[in-house]
Symmetry: C2
Subunit: 339 residues, 2 copies
DNA sequence: GTGAAAGCGCTAACAG
DNA sequence: CTGTTAGCGCTTTCAC
């Protein structure tokens, strides 16, 4: 290796170490660097990892890489990780706890320096216990953990303001004169869903209106199904807050299938501002939550932990904003009264 | 480790080796296995990789994970890899050759057992040379390489029948009575694009019709822009073959924006059968190319190479089929004549 | 059939 | 400031 070219042995290691933690003569460093370039030396991360009991790799657990929501977070995270010289390993659990746990084990085996959980946690005893065990493993070799969605576990977190965003979305609809505002939310055992539902409920309660809700998983299919159930139940709503843009895809499809126009008959607000909606009709009014930025912040947070310079607060809540597009409309005075 | 529990040293390694390559007494193996379970022993892939000069990891290079096209391939590949005990590292180049090369270097550093290239190769001297260098590196430690799209490099490949699919799509339109069939294809320096364009041209030539084409990158934006250019140029077409479903998203949006209905004014056929079109209007007629299956086949192929049991043919072409949905319609006799 | 030894490539601890 | 030594956890010679 570089040692052959230079003349020293493990001094080369010190010469090339990035935060210079050991004194090295400038001339020596020069020779080592020259040799490294000459031979195209590349340090072996496996050997490093073996010695340091930790690699320059960051694991990212998502529910579904194909979902634009997670894809955006991953985009931000990988970019930021690459900038810091880290490689990311993205694992898609397909919303199956067993698969997720298996991946987490594998990532631990590979001694990832940090593990980011992009999806929300489950309200499930067994699952939480299993995760707790893994986390102990991660902690044992000094890996960082960051949550990018709400969880019961008290980890450092970079999360969207789910509650506030949902309130904002609902208030937008109320402000347009809607009185019968229904909710299509995610599964009840996921914290993200519960928070968004809570925001909706708070806004409805403040307006002294009766809430109406249906839940599905965070997929287009589930959005369509939930909308169908609301309609089949005979609910008469003029507006719909859908707790995820991905579900909203299915919601709009189902409404159209039932002959309801958006925003003519029903106004719809989504959540997430997932890219791609500019290519759909009508463009969706939604809550923008800076997905890529959450990925970036998650990686920064992990690096801060690794360097022991992580500061409170433990949970950092990211601001959201309402993006008004064409899926919502104001109700005429008469319509509001009739509702 | 397990050695403490048992009583032996590196015999444990032999006892746990999956293809038993060394004789071990049944009783010993029993004790070792019991100890392994007891202590929850998990072999360290870093140490293994360091020794074997190769890890149980498969790298997958894609142009854009967010694109449903690649997401499907990745889904198939990761599932199959996991089944064989391999972890996948997905790297998204964002269509930037420099980024791609950097990722390839990192994957080599991590001694991936195999590298799958999901995107098509570039017709670019410098890029090809750079890739050739990396491949030499991979070969030097016995890693496998598989192409999942056409390339000049003569690697083992599992590819879609791009030419045949494009011909099929074009013939479908011709069969419906269309005479002015235009093409929206991908970049000219990507092999996948060229093959699909070739299929279209072959079908048009056989029908003695003049081809009309515009190229873009494989994104919705580019699809919309290319459609705009065709229209601005004053091309009068009644049908459009779009060489990728992802671009077709933008194509339909642009047609609608210009006041053209699909399939009323223009029939459109895509390529790929990317999931999600069931939630768009109108559902797209397209060429189904079994994306996930290509990912699965790619991993199998890589494993076969690693085990030295890869058989010809070098390039395996996957069948495609036409999926007729609602974006195409037959022209009335009078319309065909007028065209 | 099993143990002892060596080494994959790297870096930290310990002399000098 | 630099060289030597040791060891991260594993597997594979080479002896016995």
């Amino acid at each position: 290796m570089a040692r052959l070219a230079g003349v020293s042995a493990a001094t080369a290691s010190r010469a090339l170490a990035s935060p210079r933690r050991h004194p090295v003569a400038e001339t020596t460093r020069g020779r080592v660097e020259a040799a490294a370039v000459e031979l195209g030396y590349r340090p072996n991360p496996l050997a490093r990892g073996l010695r340091a009991r930790r690699t320059s790799t960051i694991g990212v657990m998502v529910h579904d890489v194909g979902d634009g929501y997670f894809a955006e977070i991953v985009r931000g995270a990988t970019a930021e990780a690459a900038r810091a010289g880290f490689l990311t390993m993205v694992c898609s659990s397909d919303r199956d706890p067993a698969t997720e746990l298996r991946y987490v084990d594998t990532l631990i085996d590979h001694r990832v320096a940090a593990l980011l959980f992009a999806g929300g946690g489950l309200r499930d005893r067994a699952y939480q216990q299993a995760i707790a065990d893994r986390v102990a493993g991660l902690a044992s070799y000094g890996a960082a953990i960051v949550a990018l969605a709400p969880r019961v576990e008290r980890w450092p977190a970079e999360v969207t303001d789910n509650r506030g965003g949902a309130r904002l979305a609902t208030q937008h609809l109320l402000g347009l004169g809607h009185r019968r505002v229904a909710l299509v939310t995610g599964p009840d055992n996921v914290h993200t869903s519960r928070d968004r539902a809570a925001g909706y409920l708070a806004a409805m309660r403040a307006a002294r209106l009766a809430p109406v809700a249906e839940a599905g998983t965070f997929t287009p299919e589930a959005g369509a199904a939930a909308t169908g159930r609301l309609l089949d139940r005979g609910e008469r709503f003029t507006a719909l807050f859908v707790a995820s843009d991905t579900m909203a895809v299915g919601v709009l499809t189902e409404l159209r299938r039932r002959g309801l126009s958006v925003p003519g008959d029903v106004s719809v607000v989504g959540f997430g501002d997932v890219p791609g909606w500019e290519f759909r009709t009508p463009p969706l009014t939604t809550i923008r939550s800076g997905l890529a930025q959450i990925g970036v912040a998650g990686v920064r947070r992990a690096l801060a932990q690794l360097e022991g310079r992580d500061r409170p607060p433990r949970v950092r809540v990211h601001r959201v904003e309402l993006v008004v597009r064409e899926s919502t409309r104001a109700l005429a005075r008469a319509e509001t009264a009739a509702g």
